[in-house]
């Protein structure tokens, strides 16, 4: 099974116009890859389906907007992959 990072990078490349080889662990989804909110929702839908989870985008956005968390915690690729792995682990009780 490919890593969460690779699966998410594949999803972003398939869902948006971003070339797969430009997506790196340090890439910020919005600032570096230029993903806008509509494309991001498409990506979240694809992640929800692929991983069988419900990415809590609203809670993340609220945390970032209120200053409770830096945007990089959720929107830098390697961190996003970690958050997804945590959600998958929480779902499976692991």
């Amino acid at each position: 099974m490919a890593s969460a990072f690779d699966r998410i990078a594949d999803i972003i490349a398939e869902t948006s116009d971003v070339p797969r080889d430009t997506i790196r662990p340090e890439s910020h989804v919005i600032e570096d890859l230029g993903i806008d909110s509509l494309d991001f929702l498409d990506i979240v839908f694809a992640i929800d389906k692929a991983f069988g989870i419900k990415v809590p985008v609203e809670a993340w956005t609220q945390e970032v907007n209120s200053g409770a968390a830096p945007a990089s915690q959720y929107f830098v690729m390697e961190n996003l992959a970690k958050r997804i792995e945590e959600l998958v682990a929480a779902k499976s009780g692991g």
Binding site: F45, K49, P56
Partner: protein, 150 residues
Amino acid sequence: MQLEYFRMIDRVVSADAGSIAAEAVVPEASPVFEGHFPGHPLVPGVLLLETMAQASGYLLLARLGFARMAFLIGSKELKLRRFVRPGERLSVTARLVHEGSGYAVTDAAIASEGKRICEVREMKFSLADFPAPELAAAMRAEAARIGLGA
């Protein structure tokens, strides 16, 4: 249907947490038919899409207890199989595909006398707080008008 007022759904036939079935009767006359098209009145395809979006929207509104509004933000695939003319009675159905965080996805279709007219896959809606209390009240009133518990 009152096409010029974007009032597309006439009556909800059935609804549960994951699906809705509704009826819509195309009027015999409408200003819309004066332009679309002279001498050849047809319901515009975009209004059929709107009709499926509204059925989906009512499904989502009911599911959310009318606490939030569903705004159409995209769809994956639309098929318009045949013309829809004045006076036709349409069966409109929508089904929840996925409810995410702040968004939802539905499939929807329109048929008449058991035959497919059009369908749309993966309509996406942003689920957001009502931007105005008037809109929340209007949606509840419309839902009551078409027989959907609000």
